[in-house]
């Protein structure tokens, strides 16, 4: 290396000079949104126009979405480019496109808050009463406090357990029906018996996810974010819930290796359930399509176990349209079209999604198979405490759920007591809520 001290000095001076010239802002400064007025949408005006739909998929919904896009293209003469990204990379991909000014017209997301300021307000396009077409629970996740509607709920999820019916039969344990009310101890007891009778290593398989863990919190009567949008944990109830889950992990009724091995990644418990390593799987209806195709045994969706409360925990998937895209109006129109009654029904049927439209919820969606299982999930929505829907609509929820997984991991690893975990969580969530304002 031949670097003389003179050129070293030049280099240092150069870097300093660059630092000074770089003193100007790297991009536009933050500012409050300027309200935009109503826009008229003419579905006849899109002929020959192109737009991009950024999408993530759980698998079976992809073909249904493609079919719906085909119908939209035929109806309007526009072209829709469907781009699929892995869910884990959705955030990064969208963020890059926002910084690079190449945003897609429309994207499917799980939380619109990270893109606040970039999204168009659907009430500007389809009127102040447009949100009324959707169920209160679903629509609450798409609006801010001022009533802007920055996303359209495309499908609703609700957490709930699956059971391996064959394994239950072999153990002589009755499979609960759609109306069974069972408690956590009964639930664990049944799962343990079935696992023992079938030589399965764990009783319960579960996705490692803050949303799934929130289900248990909700059943014990508490939640990460309260109805007022503030940190909402009730320490006593949270300790009860987390202690219960921790005990299951320490007894290896839920695989401790699996839980700790996930790190901060989402990790699905579907492999263990499908490989018959556990007779019960806590997940949600998005698994139904894949199980219908590939499960080598008979299975069923059953009601959630109860503690202080019953029901599962909601999740939302929604479609957003970006205001700085090339064709914002086409984007808005596409989102509205995809969520019209007939189109949402067709996608719901093919993808095993739960409807978000009031009319579809009222009339019900007829699924090609496993209709009963889907109805079991739907029945769980009404059982779920309403505060859960409030919680997931908070801009702080995604961050809080990640904090929950991180902090609870320390308990599972034996580095922290449950009480300390809850106390730390309260502090962290409080900060996340403040930062999200």
């Amino acid at each position: 290396m031949l670097i003389r001290s003179r050129s070293l000095a030049t280099a240092v001076a150069g870097v300093l000079a660059l630092a000074l010239t770089a003193g100007c802002a790297p991009g536009p400064l933050e500012q409050s949104d300027s309200p935009s007025g109503p826009v008229t949408v003419d579905f006849g005006s899109f002929k020959g126009k192109r737009m991009t739909y950024l999408y993530f998929t759980d698998g079976p919904d992809l073909d249904a979405t493609k079919a719906a896009i085909g119908r939209f293209e035929q109806a309007t003469g526009a072209t829709v480019e469907l781009q699929v990204v892995p869910y884990a990379e959705l955030q990064r991909s969208l963020q890059a496109r926002i910084t690079g000014d190449t945003v897609p017209e429309v994207a499917r997301v799980q939380d619109w808050h990270p893109y606040a300021g970039e999204l168009l307000d659907f009430t500007d396009y389809f009127g102040k009463s447009y949100p009324d077409e959707f169920t209160d629970g679903a629509v609450s996740t798409t609006r801010d406090d001022a009533g802007h509607m920055y996303a359209v709920p495309s499908d609703q999820t609700i957490n709930g357990p699956f059971v391996n019916v064959d394994a239950f039969a072999k153990a002589g344990v009755p499979v609960p029906t759609a109306t069974t009310k069972w408690t956590w101890p009964e639930f664990v007891d049944a799962a343990s018996k079935v696992a023992a009778a079938n030589d399965m290593p764990s009783a319960i398989s579960v996705d490692v996810s803050g949303n799934r863990l929130s289900t248990v919190l909700s059943q014990y009567g508490t939640t990460l974010i309260g109805a007022d949008g503030q940190e909402g944990l009730d320490p006593a109830k949270a300790e009860q819930a987390l202690s219960m889950v921790n005990d299951l992990l320490q007894q290896d009724k839920i695989s401790k290796d699996f839980w700790l091995g996930a790190g901060t990644n989402y990790k699905g418990g579907n492999d263990a359930f499908l490989a018959q390593q556990a007779p019960v799987y806590l997940s949600g209806p998005w698994q139904v399509g894949a199980f219908a195709k590939s499960a080598p045994f008979k299975w069923a969706a059953v009601p959630n176990p109860c503690a202080a409360e019953c029901g599962g925990f909601p999740g939302a998937k929604m479609m957003v349209a970006f205001s700085r895209s090339k064709e914002p109006t086409l984007g808005a129109a596409f989102v509205q079209w995809m969520n019209r009654t007939e189109n949402q029904r067709e996608i719901d049927q093919a993808a095993y999604w739960l409807p978000t439209r009031k009319d579809l919820v009222a009339s019900g969606v007829q699924y090609p198979t496993h209709n009963e299982d889907m109805n079991t999930f739907i029945s769980q929505i009404d059982e779920t405490p309403a505060v859960g829907f409030k919680a997931i609509s908070s801009p702080a929820f995604t961050g809080a759920a990640l904090a929950l997984i991180k902090e609870f991991g320390k308990v599972v690893a034996g580095q922290e007591s449950v009480a300390d975990c809850v106390a730390n969580l309260e502090k962290e969530i409080d900060q996340i809520v403040k930062a999200s304002k």
């Binding site: 630092a19 933050e30 808050h113 580095q415």
Partner: protein
């Protein structure tokens, strides 16, 4: 790395003033546009706060204060240092030993070298997937061997201390072949007459290695240490699919920390950039130190 300055300086072709600039131009345009300018931009962003990477709010040196006052950052820094030191030491020592062995081996050397080099060509993402399966406590390949040897079933990815060791071992597995070939190239440039003279003087194999080969190998060793240090600080992809930074953050290293701040909610893009600047300064300082040490040993 020596590269004596006199070689190019002796060839002074200054009359063709423009020519060298034309030669560097294409590379430097691409390099400037896609590396240097973005890096300067990133440096600049570290003085702003941004939740989306598009709009910014100036915050002065707040991001740096927040990082340096953050316990989590220091935990991550500690893990990163343990990883880098473990990785650099293990891969340098193993590469040296392996190169010495291979250098002595005549029959089948090509095939053996190829086997050791094979992991280098595997994509880091796949490396993580494969080792995640192989290191599972109850279903993994490693423990089926380990327990057959009577050592039970260690929780490679679950025990926080073991997990960091696992990550180091997998890192070594990936890079060992490359470093071994570099060491081997160093070994083969050692003048064989020196060794022969020592043999005539009655020196044993171990004496020759310790007193002749290793000192002569020092410049090459410095190259390997430098490369391994940089690779160690930048390790991320395979760790992310191997452990996801777990269990409970035991294998969350600095790049993942930057990634999580920059890309998972709550997004702190400016903070992530500040951490990146700190990382760059640390790598730079360590590399420079390596260079100084390397130069001193050469002068000896």
């Amino acid at each position: 790395m020596t590269g004596r300055a006199d070689a190019p300086r002796r060839s002074r072709f200054t009359r063709r003033k423009l020519v060298p600039y034309l030669f560097v131009l294409p590379n430097m345009v691409v390099f400037g546009l896609f590396t240097i300018w973005p890096a300067i931009n990133g440096f600049n962003i570290s003085f702003y706060d941004s939740a989306n990477g598009r709009t910014f709010r100036p915050v002065g040196t707040d991001n740096y204060h927040r990082i340096l006052g953050n316990d989590e950052f220091w935990t991550v820094a500690r893990h990163t240092i343990v990883f880098v030191v473990g990785f650099v030491v293990a891969s340098t020592v193993l590469a040296t030993v392996l190169a010495l062995l291979l250098n002595g081996q005549k029959r089948g050397r090509g095939a053996l070298s190829a086997a050791y080099f094979l992991p280098v060509v595997v994509s880091p993402v796949v490396v993580g997937l494969i080792w995640n399966a192989a290191l599972q406590r109850q279903t993994g390949l490693v423990n089926s061997v380990v327990s057959a040897l009577g050592f039970g079933q260690p929780a490679w990815l679950i025990d926080p201390n073991l997990a960091l060791i696992s990550v180091i071992l997998v890192g070594v597995w990936v890079h060992l072949g490359f470093y071994t070939m570099i060491m081997l190239s160093g070994l083969q440039s050692i003048d064989s007459s020196v060794n022969e003279a020592a043999t005539i003087d009655g020196a044993g194999t171990w004496q020759k290695i310790r007193l002749i080969t290793l000192p002569l190998l020092r410049p090459t060793t410095m190259v390997v240490i430098t490369l391994a240090t940089i690779a160690g600080f930048q390790a991320f992809d395979f760790i992310f699919t191997l452990t996801g930074g777990g269990p409970v953050g035991a294998t969350t290293l600095i790049i993942q920390y930057i990634y999580e701040n920059g890309f998972t909610p709550p997004i702190a893009y400016g903070l992530a950039s500040a951490a990146a600047v700190i990382l760059f300064l640390v790598i730079f300082a360590v590399t420079f130190l390596n260079y100084l040490v390397g130069r001193r040993t050469e002068a000896m």
